[in-house]
């Protein structure tokens, strides 16, 4: 692979090219095993490879990629990357600026594994899934059960024209259950341990064993059926206690994306959108209440956003984003950090593979725990609802107006969790919502959730990110039954 990188870098060592970097991801392995209603569902073993060449002139970037790793093909895409950059820069008026960051030389990052998922016999995994899926079918109303397992292995070689280089092997793994109960047009779904395919971690198969899918299955099967007869969530402003899983997604949508510096500068305006945060407000914007503290931590063990260096060769970092309710930092790349006048990148330029150029992406964007136990959070609620497990999610293109549906709710009466509620929806505006957070759960309520499907960019890139989230309490939130 080093030879291929040298081959590409030699081609792009051309007039007008100020900087170039090359990434080879080979193999990029993905195994997906799933059992759906007793039958196999798209059992897949995938091994892809790609090389991407990125060049920068004083006016523009160019990126070209191929899945053909023969030297002739590599030389061709390297030449195409230069042509693209020259064409893109033809009418550019402003010079590109990037930060000057320390470059790794020969670094290596590897996921620590106790049990390599790719060495784990797949038949034992399918057996585990089949058993758990069977456990979901607790009543005739259960029309669909899914038990799924996924594992990714990314082997990466990075080299740049300024002599930087590193290699890495990163393994992500996870599993989950989904059950759907149907009665007429009343469709109720429950997932465990989380929606969006389950829970995921940068870890070995030991993580999947720890999920104990077999034990979870009958419980969520019964809940899905019970939801068919549950009363609809009441409508009106109320006190909302959000479970850790849903709160993780809330952080993702209304904090994580909003603080991506490329969005703030309009680079994503034509697709994903912009942000309600403007550059001059970074450092003084009131984002939420005093108990709100958020960090982007690419060093947290187990996170899907944990790595040695990002895809520009910048080291992983832990960056405060919101401190006591004030926005103090952002997610950034070398280009966007330079736009803001920062000396260094925040090290969050990530590409979904060798076939994509790096973009500003989330790493592990975490809401820091507070000091309340779950019981203490509930004790402060005379009347309210507890919601968890995401069912629908939507937010506007500036990350202000959001609406989330959850799979279930529970009524809270005088500090006690009560009856099951179906089709709960809550909505709000980002700063008002975070401003209404009056208590945050302690470390015992916190979990680091892996989210494997964050979409951004054109062509689309799917990033795997994590969110550490405790349970938290919000006052006066608009809630209704859908």
């Amino acid at each position: 692979m080093e030879d291929l990188i040298r081959t590409a870098l030699a081609v792009v060592d051309a007039p007008g090219v100020l900087h170039s970097d090359v990434r080879v991801v080979a193999p990029e392995r993905f195994v997906s095993l799933a059992v759906r209603n007793g039958a196999a569902s798209a059992l897949t073993d995938s091994r892809a490879q790609a090389l991407g060449v990125r060049v920068r002139t004083d006016r523009a970037w160019g990126f070209a990629t191929t899945s053909d790793l023969r030297p002739t093909s590599v030389r061709e895409v390297a030449r195409l990357a230069i042509r693209l950059a020259r064409a893109a820069g033809r009418n550019a008026r402003e010079r590109l600026r990037v930060t000057d960051d320390p470059a790794p030389t020969g670094g290596r990052y590897e996921t620590p594994l106790r049990q390599d998922p790719f060495s784990t016999p797949f038949d034992s995994i399918v057996e585990l899934l089949a058993s758990a899926e069977k456990g979901l079918h607790v009543a005739r109303e259960v029309r669909s059960g899914i038990a799924s397992f996924q594992a990714w292995e990314e082997n990466k070689w990075y080299g740049s024209s300024d002599g930087a280089s590193y290699t890495s092997r990163i393994v992500h793994v996870g599993a989950g259950l989904t059950v759907t109960a149907v009665r007429g047009s009343n469709v109720q779904r429950r997932c465990s341990p989380a929606s969006h395919g389950g829970d995921f971690s940068q870890a070995g198969f030991e993580f999947v064993k720890g999920l104990d899918l077999d034990a979870r299955a009958p419980e969520i099967g019964r809940e899905a059926v019970a939801l068919l007869d549950a009363p609809a969530c009441p409508t009106g402003p109320t006190t909302l206690v959000l479970g850790s899983g849903q709160l993780g997604l809330q952080v993702h949508e209304s904090v994580g994306h909003a603080v991506e510096l490329d969005r703030i500068y309009g680079s994503e305006a034509g697709f994903a959108g912009t942000s309600w945060v403007s550059p001059e407000k970074i450092g003084n914007l009131r984002y939420g209440s005093d108990v709100m503290n958020v960090v982007a931590d690419a060093t947290e063990p187990g996170g899907l956003g944990t790595f040695g260096w990002d895809d520009e060769g910048v080291p992983a970092q832990r960056t405060p984003i919101v401190h006591r309710g004030v926005l103090v930092g952002t997610l950034s790349s070398r280009e966007s950090a330079a736009q803001l006048g920062l000396r260094h990148s925040g090290g969050t330029a990530r590409a979904s593979g060798g076939d994509r150029a790096p973009l500003v992406r989330m790493t592990n964007v975490n809401l820091e725990p507070g000091d309340r136990s779950l019981d203490e959070l509930l004790e402060g609620v005379n009347e309210g609802v507890y919601l968890d497990s995401n069912r629908s999610w939507s937010i506007d293109d500036r990350r202000l107006n959001f609406q989330f549906g959850t799979e279930f709710g529970r009524r809270i009466v005088r500090g006690e969790l009560g009856e099951l509620l179906r089709n709960p929806i809550y909505s709000g505006m980002t700063p008002a919502f975070w401003g209404s957070m009056d208590a945050v759960g302690d470390r015992s309520t916190r979990h680091l959730w892996g989210l494997p499907n964050c979409g951004k960019g054109q062509p689309i890139q799917g990033a795997r990110v994590s969110h550490g989230a405790p349970v938290a309490r919000f006052r006066n939130v608009a809630v209704r039954g859908g």
């Binding site: 995938s46 042509r83 064409a87 047009s185 469709v187 939507s394 505006m429």
Partner: protein, 458 residues
């Protein structure tokens, strides 16, 4: 480009790879060769140009009703053998799928020559960049002070599929897509306008028109706040395309029918919209992004989804056709994960157009809202077809049958079934909008009532 049997001398021998499977085992192989150039622009300059050449191979094996797939990037004979071995190993441990009907032999006639643009498929990076520059220049000249962002994407995808029953078909499509946003983020509240289009021939994208249209749609006055509630609406093409995508996933995808959660599960053969509404999935249409075969090599064909207001059946692939006992419609996605919860889905939706101009749609609406597009649409309740999303990039108040001025954006939460049931008029112009590899082709519509559940600050 006509569908044809593969004959390139450098092509791998798929028949040999399939013959190499053990007795009692069968399979199919897909080779997808893609070439594309994507030119993104923002803040008035090209900021993310991307060129891609890729090969994706997928080998599915069936062993005594046990199915599994291996995929990779190596389309040589050696690569294929390796994938075949991997898929066999995985199939041996798969739970049994009794409803899989087996691979199909190559019967039936192909669609003949479908629309294809060689110039689009082989477009140089410089030519693609020039299209983006044209969009940019047009938008900037028509909206001085506006900040312009968007994308132009051109390319081709060639798909070859072979199976153990002797099927070996190749087809290709050419694809061009552009979208453009013009915004004034410096205003309070910020305002923006949008346009987009897709075509199989890049020379017919009309980049200058798209830029001009986006600029025209950007409000020139301050948007007013509109209280949430149910309003009659005119939905422009991009908004209609979103509605149809979700209707097709929730109502016409195979898995929803198999598992009983389709919002149309109990309404097939019944009236769900006025007789003016006819929705077809037609991967052969020149008004879409045509493709002659699906990912199982089945010839594509027009599939009626709503005929004169009456809901018809779902789309299928081999497995779902077996499970449902219904005909194969040629809507297979690649058999490997991840392909979501829906299973086979319509890929080339076409909503029949009507005869109303946009002015006539607005006039007939009287009092309500004009919506250009939606953002971040998601499913709230699949059984009732309820979805939610935001309006974006050009929302206007309609009063006295005229566009009275811009409105701040709103969140809708509405059933797609209610939205199509309430259609009163269809526009006379329709356009294709990019949708994965295919397209949604739709006119603007007027619908009687659309429920907005909250408002935003801009």
């Amino acid at each position: 480009m006509p569908a044809r049997r593969a004959a390139r001398p450098s092509e791998p021998d798929l028949a040999a790879a399939l013959r190499g499977l053990p007795d009692g085992t069968s399979g199919d192989v897909r080779i997808v060769r893609s070439s594309s150039t994507t030119i993104r622009f923002a803040n008035g300059r090209i900021h993310q140009p991307h060129l891609e050449r890729s090969t994706h191979v997928s080998f599915r094996v069936e062993d005594a009703h046990r199915l599994a797939t291996a995929t990779g990037s190596d389309a040589t004979d050696v690569g294929l053998r390796s994938l075949g071995t991997t898929a066999q190993a995985l199939a041996r441990i798969a739970p049994v799928e009794r409803k899989f009907p087996g691979f199909k032999s190559p019967t039936g006639r192909g669609p003949g020559r479908l629309a294809f643009s060689r110039a689009t498929a082989q477009m140089s990076p410089e030519a693609a960049t020039r299209i983006a520059e044209e969009v940019l220049a047009s938008a900037q000249s028509d909206a001085p002070g506006g900040r312009v962002a968007g994308v132009v994407s051109v390319g081709t995808e060639e798909l070859r599929v072979a199976n153990s029953e002797g099927l070996d078909r190749t087809a290709a499509r050419s694809v061009a897509h552009a979208s453009v946003l013009v915004q004034r983020p410096d205003l309070d509240p910020p305002v923006s306008g949008w346009s987009e289009g897709a075509h199989w021939d890049a020379s017919r994208l009309g980049p200058a028109r798209l830029g001009r249209e986006a600029a025209e749609r950007m409000p020139r006055s301050t948007p007013v706040a509109v209280p949430p509630g149910a309003y009659p609406v005119v939905l422009r093409g991009p908004a209609v395309a979103d509605l149809l995508r979700f209707l097709s996933h929730l109502g016409f995808a195979a898995n929803g029918e198999v598992e009983g959660w389709s919002c149309l599960a109990r309404r097939r053969g019944k009236k769900v919209a006025p007789p003016t509404v006819t929705l077809t999935d037609d991967p052969r249409s020149r008004d879409s992004i045509p493709m002659a075969i699906d990912y199982e090599g089945t010839w594509t064909a027009a599939t009626p989804l709503i005929e004169k207001g009456v809901a018809r059946g779902v789309v299928t692939d081999l497995l779902s056709a077996g499970r449902l006992g219904r005909p194969l419609t040629g809507h297979a996605q690649p058999p490997e994960a991840p392909w979501g919860d829906y299973g086979p889905i319509p890929s080339n939706l076409l909503l029949a157009k009507g005869d109303a101009s946009e002015e006539e749609l607005v006039r007939a609406t009287g009092k309500g809202l004009l919506v250009t597009r939606f953002h971040y649409v998601r499913v709230v309740d699949p059984g009732r077809g309820v979805i939610t999303g935001m309006t974006r990039d050009g929302t206007y108040v309609i009063e006295n049958g005229e566009v009275a001025g811009p409105a701040r954006n709103l969140r809708f939460t509405e059933s797609v079934l209610d939205a199509i049931a309430g259609i009163t008029l269809l526009g006379k112009e329709r356009r294709a909008y990019s949708d994965g590899g295919g397209a949604v082709t739709a006119p603007s519509i007027a619908t009687r009532s659309f429920r907005f559940t909250s408002a935003t600050l801009f």
